[in-house]
Symmetry: C2
Subunit: 117 residues, 2 copies
């Protein structure tokens, strides 16, 4: 039987940015933690919504028709097909959920390789 | 464009126990917050994994072959078909994700009605 997944402990295991680490599987989705800082690329996912929950820090999600700012304990779902760019002024820790195999940039050629931890 | 979803604010809007409130939609799933205290019923979901993230408090998830204890910031996915019973000694706040329409007891006849807040 798997043990409880302690997100804070998982986040101590790595330091690279914009590189999601898989911590659990859920209904064909990868549940991931990631550390981010700076500006990501503008991108969209044609086939999946994009789930963000801020665990620590603050995340700005820019979209073409507006933006939202998330603090710790705030979540947002970017609907599929909606162009967005995550931006974090300081190092920020997120919980992400995406269908297994989804490229984080929306493009397999530029996506980070997601590894389980 | 929807606003950010501030889970702590959502949790201030209700006080009933074991009654999940929908805060967002994600890939055909309901994202919900719930307050729990005491023992829930033993149940399973034949068609879906069951996602638990503890936001505040502590949750024991009993299964037939063992149990896990989650504190704030810990998550667990009970695989589909696995019988389980959530137990919380003190009031505990959870983030849950389930396919839209999933009965929280595993049985539509006894399930809570899930409303959006």
């Amino acid at each position: 039987m798997p043990d409880a997944i302690r997100l804070a402990e998982k986040l101590k295991l790595f330091s690279d940015l914009w590189s999601p680490k898989i911590v659990a599987a859920f209904n064909g989705h990868d549940v991931m933690v990631v550390k981010v800082k700076g500006e990501f690329v503008w991108h969209s996912h044609p086939d999946t919504d994009d789930f963000f929950l801020v665990l620590k820090g603050s995340l700005l999600i820019q979209m073409r028709d507006g933006e939202v700012t998330l603090g710790a304990g705030d979540l947002y779902v970017v609907p599929k097909g909606v162009e967005h760019r995550p931006v974090a002024v300081e190092e920020t820790h997120l919980l992400l959920i995406e269908p297994a195999g989804t490229p984080n940039t929306g493009d397999a050629a530029t996506a980070a390789v997601k590894k389980a931890i």
